[in-house]
């Protein structure tokens, strides 16, 4: 029996893994960084381990994002358990519904991406309004303008951000 030549993996399989990485990496990074405060230098290896586990089990997995989210929560917990700090760091608890958690986290990553891509002034307005919780009066003082104009600035930035979000979500679909 002649030895068969080694074929390339089917492009759709290879692309599916690539797409899964591109689609989901940010969400998994968000979990590790924001939910579990894994140090920056350990985030990428941790997420890559999760992806390797996904590739290993891909024939069993029906909902890739939910699985990856669940796996990342689990790996982050184990990360801190190994360091004896699970109870301090992981008070957030396990996601009871990984699919719902995946959806929520995707929305947060999308919002973060929108903030990152907005012009600097808009980003600053939204940061002051929503992160620092400035009132319209405080915003007006900060930008040396009227309260009415400060309010309009917020409205304009929220509107722009929503438009950008629509484009990001549309591009993904």
């Amino acid at each position: 029996m002649p030895e068969p030549r080694t074929p390339a993996p089917p492009p759709d399989t290879s692309d599916a893994i690539r797409l899964a990485y591109e689609d989901h990496y940010r969400v998994l990074e968000y979990i590790a960084a924001q939910k579990f405060h894994v140090p920056d230098e350990d985030i990428r290896p941790l997420v890559h381990d999760v992806f390797l586990a996904y590739i290993r089990n891909r024939s069993r997995v029906r909902n890739a994002r939910a699985w990856l989210v669940g796996a990342t929560f689990n790996s982050c917990r184990l990360y801190w358990r190994e360091r004896g700090r699970e109870d301090d760091v992981c008070g957030y608890g396990k996601p009871l519904d990984a699919a719902a958690a995946a959806e929520d986290l995707t929305a947060r990553v999308d919002a973060g991406t929108v903030l990152r891509r907005l012009p600097r002034q808009c980003r600053e307005v939204l940061h002051l309004r929503f992160y620092e919780e400035y009132s319209s009066e405080e915003l007006a003082r900060h930008f040396a303008t009227t309260v009415g104009y400060a309010r309009k600035m917020v409205h304009r930035c929220v509107r722009n951000a929503r438009a950008l979000l629509t484009r990001i979500v549309g591009a993904r679909q």
Binding site: M1, E3, P4, T6, P7, A8, P9, T13, S14, R18, Y21, E22, Y25, R26, Y30, A33, Q34, R44, H48, D49, F51, L52, A53, I55, R56, R60, V61, R62, N63, A66, W67, G70, A71, F73, N74, L78, P95, L96, A98, A99, A102, A107, R108, A111, G112, T113, L115, R116, L126, H127, F130, Y131, G148, R151, V154, H155, V158, R159, A161, R162
Partner: protein, 443 residues
């Protein structure tokens, strides 16, 4: 407004009750009647709630413009995918020759001995699990050889872990429970070396729970299968979680909580019917037939048994159909329909024997012995017990089973055997380990 609906900037002004921007009372009136504007207002509030999450801002600061390059990860992934595709082709080649010739062919093609081929062989071995577990073991042995040749520590752990997992399942089907437990434990040890192994380990726990279930060690099996279910749920894997719940319900059934078990089976049946999973529908129908037997609901039992048998036949799973016949025969026996029961049980026993599933065949023959005893047909009972003891002296049958069947044979020969003794033998062969000795019930 555009087309009779407020724009975002107007809705934002409305949210702030900003009378300079719009007529707030008119907006109140419109929005309370307009679904589209109400939904957009909700969407704005949801988005602003996201913007109020400090994590989102922190995350935005750490974002680079593109995800980190996949570099080495991509290379590793592509290598893995390439090997998997190659393995499927190799398996197709192997399929054209007898299994006995596989080791020789593989020895001449060392480059084909990849982790992908190990997994492909295990997939192939699974096809024979229910009907030809001995064949499964032969294929597993070949996969093990390839697994042991892997030099990468993670490849070795993954391959050997999955080999042992599959071996545990095959040995359980053959009634070699101690070996099956050892294989499940070995699977756990190997898989624990993998990066992010929790999901893989849930399958090892599941395999161990299945073996313990077969050994009637229900109290030990229950926490294991519940842990596995919880893990599957954490991973958003409802399908495997529900499959594991079938085992949990079966354990509850064996522990006597038949009503609860039946409720769980019915709920799961709906889930798998919605998923269009014929195999699980067949399995659950068989389990529901078993529950109905225990609850003495004869018509339900016949209905579910017929459904399960038909589905297993459609699926080409004859040994599963045979198990359903066994359950039905058991039901008929309990209801005193001995002739009908004998027809089902004899056919089931013959089929299990042909498939080399000797331990299971022994359990079916015990039911037949019980029928003969209840009808005080000593000659037939003794002849059958003699056959049974003879079969269990053969090379592949568990030795401790042979000891129990020999005791039964002798008791039938001297006419001291009772239905209680049959029950004791049955409990021993399903629940003992190979180091146990059979102790007859006290008279």
């Amino acid at each position: 407004m555009i087309d009779g609906h407020y724009e975002d900037y107007e809705l934002l002004a409305y949210r702030d009750r900003d009378a300079d921007m719009l007529d707030v009372p008119s907006a109140d009136a419109h929005i309370s009647m307009c679904e589209e504007c109400t939904e957009r207002l909700r969407a704005i509030r949801r988005f602003e709630a996201l913007l109020s999450d400090k994590n989102v801002h922190d995350y935005a600061r750490r974002l680079r413009s593109a995800p980190p390059a996949m570099d080495a990860f991509v290379v590793a992934t592509d290598d893995r995918l390439r090997a998997d595709v190659d393995a499927e082709r190799t398996l197709a080649r192997l399929g054209s020759v007898a299994i006995d010739a596989w080791p020789e062919w593989l020895a001449f093609h060392p480059s084909r001995q990849t982790p992908g081929l190990v997994l492909a062989l295990l997939g192939e071995s699974r096809r024979h699990l229910n009907d030809r577990p001995e064949t499964t073991l032969r294929v597993i042995a070949i996969a093990e050889e390839i697994a042991n040749a892997q030099t990468d520590v993670f490849d070795l752990a993954e391959c050997r872990g999955n080999v042992e997992l599959q071996r545990a399942n095959a040995l359980r089907h053959l009634g070699r429970y101690d070996e099956a437990l050892a294989a499940a434990d070995a699977a756990y040890r190997f898989l624990a070396h993998l990066p992010a192994p929790t999901y893989d380990l849930a399958f090892a726990s599941w395999a161990r729970a299945n073996v313990l279930f077969s050994m009637t060690r229900y109290a030990e099996a229950l926490p294991l299968i519940r842990d596995a279910t919880e893990t599957f749920l954490i991973f958003g894997d409802l399908e495997h979680a529900n499959r594991a719940r079938v085992v949990e319900a079966s354990l509850l059934c064996e522990q006597g909580d038949v009503e609860r078990s039946e409720q769980v089976y019915r709920a799961l049946l709906t889930f798998f019917e919605n998923a269009g999973d014929t195999e699980m529908i067949a399995r659950l129908s068989a389990n529901l037939a078993d529950c109905a037997v225990r609850l003495d609901h004869a018509s339900d039992a016949r209905l579910f048994a017929a459904q399960a048998t038909q589905l297993f036949a459609t699926l080409g799973r004859p040994s599963e159909a045979t198990r359903v016949r066994w359950s039905l025969g058991n039901l008929l026996m309990r209801h005193g329909a001995f002739e009908d029961a004998l027809g089902e049980l004899e056919a089931a026993a013959e089929d299990f024997q042909q498939r080399g599933m000797i331990a299971t065949m022994g359990e079916v023959l015990l039911d037949i012995v019980e029928i003969y005893l209840r009808r005080t047909e000593w000659v037939e009972a003794e002849a059958l017990a003699r056959t049974l003891a003879g079969v269990f002296r053969s090379a592949h049958a568990p030795l401790h089973h042979a000891q129990a069947y020999a005791y039964l044979r002798d008791a039938l020969a001297n006419r001291s055997a009772t239905v209680d003794l049959v029950a004791s033998v049955r409990a021993f062969v399903t629940g003992s380990s190979e180091t146990d000795a059979f102790a007859p019930p006290l008279q």
